[in-house]
């Protein structure tokens, strides 16, 4: 390597240092220009090969400059009326749909809304709050996390006007997901329905089976199918580090049906122990169903080794009759699978039944909550809680996914939802949500993370594998409750 190369290396270093100085100064533009000029002078001596990288540096300086101008500080943002939102939804279509959902709002009010999805939302929101760079609004997939931030004083409670305007659009159960210690912090932004069983109507008809109306019917159907030589269920609970979560959904759904919503709430807060007969009974009920010889098809060999997302193909190809999974499962069906259109091979859902007279549903989803207190943020929050937001988002998401016939994975329990925007399959989600008597949020998202995102998954998996009995697993989970 010749000396002129090293000179150019040094030139790059000089550029970088100047550039750093530029960032700390107030007159960003001037400093950046100085950098560019200085760089030009030095680089004349450098070899051509290095000039490309030089250009890169300059480009970077320019980008930074723009970024700095856009960023500004809190006050500047207030002046321009921009509201930043972060959340866990991050596919191209989701982001496009979210931005489109805010377009009419921006047109009406002049408030810019910028949404950013994060691949690691949970880690990132912690860092942002700790580091003092919290967004204006974030979508929380876990009400438990929202409650933690609210209790630590990071979140701002909704002003009364916003709260009363938005709450009119929601039933009391869904609205309560955003309530923390009597204050309202969150507004539901998206609802995933979990109490669903996926099946093929044509196959049911051919076999002469009918949709089970009660838990007993469901067990009877399972036995009937085994006797007829069919495998009734597809089950897989593998999900990388989160292995076990589909098992917890089963337990939660059964808890809601056997112990009731009040006991469910006590269970979530830790007042009802995991070792309580109600919980252990739910474990045993699931274990009994899954361990019946011939009851479960697991494409990965065992239930715990089968990825939850790999159950779509066996269901469609007839390896099993039923699969219990949330509304988002439409995104895991093999490409081109018809959804609830009456055709041969179409996939539909029915409500996961219980023995009681009421119809409880298990839901998940996201809640919007604000980290700052500004008038335009509350306007955005109110808009998120409206049917207009949900309708615009659904329309935009469908468009982004290819229009007619596309399953969006989006659903909402908001009142005034325009069901004509949804596919027939999605309309049945909306209908089940609308006709439910009781809605409860996914318990594992509400429990302390050590349990809800820890032992409930891992000990549940041990139980499914047969390494532990229901009682042993329940005791281990209870012992880990902080």
């Amino acid at each position: 390597m010749s000396f002129s190369r090293w000179k150019s290396l040094l030139a790059l270093l000089a550029v970088a240092v100047l550039f750093l100085a530029a960032c700390s100064g107030d007159e960003v533009t001037d400093a950046a220009e100085t950098v560019a000029e200085g760089a030009d002078e030095v680089v004349e001596e450098a070899e051509e090969a290095m000039e490309d990288e030089e250009a890169m540096e300059e480009e970077e300086a320019m980008e930074e400059e723009e970024a700095m101008e856009e960023e500004g500080d809190g006050e500047a943002m207030a002046d321009t009326g921009t509201v930043t939102i972060t959340g866990p939804e991050r596919t191209e279509q989701d982001v496009a749909a979210l931005n489109a959902a805010f377009a009419p709002f921006t047109e009406e009010t002049g408030i810019e809304v910028v949404y950013t999805g994060s691949a690691d939302w949970e880690a990132e929101i912690n860092v942002a709050v700790e580091g003092g760079t919290a967004p204006d609004i974030s979508f929380f997939p876990q009400p438990g996390k929202l409650a933690d931030f609210a209790r630590d004083g990071h979140l701002k409670a909704l002003p009364d006007a916003t709260s009363s305007a938005a709450s009119a659009n929601w039933d009391a159960g869904s609205w309560a997901f955003g309530t923390v210690d009597g204050g309202q912090y969150g507004i539901p932004a998206k609802t995933d329905l979990k109490s669903l069983v996926w099946y093929q109507p044509a196959r049911f008809e051919a076999l002469g089976y009918s949709i089970p109306e009660t838990w007993d019917d469901l067990l009877a159907l399972t036995d009937q199918a085994i006797a007829d030589g069919n495998t009734p269920w597809c089950v897989g609970i593998e999900s990388g580090q989160a292995t076990g979560w589909p098992f917890t959904d089963w337990i939660e759904d059964i808890m809601l049906r056997t112990a009731g919503p009040d006991a469910y709430d006590q269970w979530v807060t830790g007042d009802l122990d995991f070792t309580d007969p109600a919980v252990v009974g739910a474990f045993e009920a699931v274990g009994e169903l899954w361990n019946k010889p011939g009851a479960v098809f697991a494409s990965g060999g065992t239930i715990a080794a089968t990825n939850f997302g790999d159950n779509g193909t066996p269901l469609v190809e007839g390896d099993c009759l039923m699969h219990r999974q949330a509304s988002f499962f439409g995104g895991f069906l093999p490409e081109g699978t018809p959804a609830a259109d009456g055709s041969e091979g179409a996939v539909d859902v029915f409500y996961f039944p219980g023995n009681g007279t009421d119809r409880p549903i298990l839901v998940a989803g996201t809640l919007a909550a604000a980290f700052h207190d500004r008038a335009e943020i509350w306007q955005v929050m109110e808009y998120i809680g409206s049917a207009e937001y949900a309708n615009t988002r659904q329309a935009a998401q469908k468009e982004a996914l290819g229009g007619e016939g596309a399953l969006t994975g989006f659903a909402s329990a908001v009142k005034g939802l325009d069901s004509s925007l949804f596919e027939p399959l999605e309309q049945s989600f909306v209908e089940i949500m609308a006709t439910a008597d009781v809605a409860r949020f996914d318990a594992s998202d509400l429990m302390p993370a050590d349990v809800g995102a820890g032992t409930f998954w891992s000990e549940g998996t041990s139980f499914v594998n047969g390494d532990k009995t229901a009682q042993e697993a329940a005791e281990a989970i209870e012992a880990s409750w902080p």
Binding site: A16, L20, R90, V95
Partner: protein, 309 residues
């Protein structure tokens, strides 16, 4: 007799070579297998990936669709922008630590000053600090600066002004630079201190000062180790996810590097996981180019300082 001896030793050496290299090839293949599987999967359709392993490759499943989707991605920013952002992070984060560490390593190795040994031990022991623990304090410093209030005097000193560089590539390469420094100094010091003493002495006799020695002797002689460190550092900063997520995160989606853009492709519940193999090869393309361009320095650099000259 002589002929048979030759044949004997020829056969023996062939046998020996074959046997001694067989494990090497076997291990190389074994090590490559996951990458090969990933590469094949990157061309297989979503349903094929979900239902079977890469070894069941059939021509009907093959598609370039995933590469099209990945390269055309625009979820938070476009793939082209992300690649440029990654370069905007990796290039300064590679060049700056090398430049500073080369000076420092020379100083530690060949300039005799008081406390040199302890300063060097102090610098090198900083390698033991996990960078994760410093991320949030660093982010706070970038956002609001560092201030110290003198006790009893009620006077606040601003040690570092509020740069407000969070959300920019600057914050990322600045962080990488800081954390690269101890290892860079350590590696370069070991190499530079092993250069023969004689050349320094004769240079001194000829009237060269420290800067001339560094510039005209040390740097040209250290190119293998500089290149080796550059490879390490470039790969590490190019593939970094955590620091970029912390320092840029959602504050400025336009500045996010490729790693984060690709992770965003997977979608919630991993419903687009089938895009990740293709994403991995898009991500790996530039490091592969860098590696093959600099690989002849690689082994030489790995041995840097292991044998005293």
């Amino acid at each position: 007799m002589a002929v048979s001896m030759n044949a004997d030793s020829g056969l023996g050496s062939i046998l020996y070579r074959g046997l001694s290299r067989f494990p090497m090839w076997a291990f190389a293949l074994l090590w490559l297998l996951p990458s090969l599987g990933l590469f094949l999967n990157s061309f297989r359709s979503r349903d094929a990936q979900r239902n079977s392993g890469f070894w069941t490759l059939s021509p009907n499943d093959l598609t370039l669709e995933h590469y099209e989707t990945v390269l055309g991605a625009s979820s938070v920013n476009s793939m082209g922008d992300s690649l440029l952002n990654s370069l905007a992070i990796s290039i300064p984060a590679t060049i700056i630590p090398i430049a500073i560490a080369a000076f420092a390593a020379y100083g530690f190795a060949w300039i005799d000053f008081k406390g040199r040994k302890w300063m060097f031990i102090g610098t090198v022991s900083l390698m033991a600090i996990p960078l994760q623990v410093a991320l949030i304090p660093l982010l706070r410093m970038y956002v609001s600066g560092a201030h110290y209030t003198l006790p009893f005097l009620d006077k606040t000193l601003t040690l570092v002004p509020a740069w407000g560089v969070n959300g920019t590539a600057t914050a990322v390469w600045l962080t990488h630079t800081g954390f690269a420094m101890p290892f860079a100094i350590f590696l370069l010091h070991n190499y530079i201190s092993s250069l023969p003493k004689d050349i320094f002495e004769s240079a001194r006799i000829d009237g060269a000062d420290h800067f001339t020695i560094f510039w005209r002797l040390v740097l040209p002689l250290s190119i293998p180790v500089l290149a080796a460190f550059a490879i390490f550092q470039f790969l590490w900063t190019w593939n970094d996810f955590l620091i970029a997520l912390t320092m840029i995160g959602s504050a400025n989606p336009d500045a996010l590097p490729t790693t984060i853009t690709i992770a965003n492709l997977a979608g919630d519940f991993g419903r687009n996981e089938h895009l990740l193999p293709a994403g991995a090869f898009v991500q790996a393309f530039i490091p592969l180019v860098v590696f093959f361009a600099l690989q002849r320095y690689f082994v030489r650099g790995l041995l840097a300082g292991s044998v005293k000259g």
